[in-house]
């Protein structure tokens, strides 16, 4: 079964706007990771947040984690056309397995 579930599934925004995606999960985790996938390509790791962390930044990315609600959010600030991609959250369990959500398609309109 899918561990992570992203919401919303599709997002269309203007260049320069912020994009926010949410992810929920069901079981206990070691960490939560976000990945980007451009059409027809492999996944690229964006950021990892550990279960004892609440917020993390990397460039234009901001990730939050609320373990009490079993949810995470990914914020991309000042979006660019190059940010157009699918974004996946994934949770790693105690057995070193990464479970993915179904993905969130983001389209940034120039």
């Amino acid at each position: 079964s899918q561990q992570g579930e992203e919401d919303p599934q599709a997002l269309s925004i203007q260049e320069g706007e912020n994009a926010t995606m949410n992810c929920s999960y069901k079981t206990s985790i070691n960490n939560l990771q976000w990945y980007r996938q451009n059409s027809g390509r492999g996944l690229v790791h964006l950021i990892l947040i550990r279960s004892n962390e609440r917020e993390k930044h990397s460039g234009r990315l901001r990730v939050t984690l609320d373990t009490s609600k079993k949810s995470s959010s990914l914020l991309i600030t000042a979006s660019r056309a190059a940010d157009t991609a699918s974004y996946f959250c994934a949770t790693e369990d105690g057995n070193n397995r990464l479970a993915f959500g179904k993905g969130n398609q983001v389209v940034v309109i120039p």
């Binding site: 990945y35 690229v44 790791h45 990892l48 994934a90 070193n96 990464l98 479970a99 993915f100 179904k102």
Partner: protein, 114 residues
Amino acid sequence: DAGITQSPRHKVTETGTPVTLRCHQTENHRYMYWYRQDPGHGLRLIHYSYGVKDTDKGEVSDGYSVSRSKTEDFLLTLESATSSQTSVYFCAISPRGQDNYGYTFGSGTRLTVV
């Protein structure tokens, strides 16, 4: 992607035939994974390996087997291919133990079973 290659990139095979996909890494990472990606399902874990000859099942392992005889190679075999195994297959590696490790994915193998 740097450090990890999958072969072949594309394959068309007939129902009932065995198929082997190869994942090769040059990073000396202990952990290797096979996922399949299908519309509406995201990525699902098939099998993974935590060392040479050490493997375990993922959530969709039926009809698949794996082998890892060397650190750098992780093979995925479809014992008797079915149309439901038409998918894009991704291999991933993980360094673990590093501060901000993420998984590195290969470019994928697009498999069509006819």
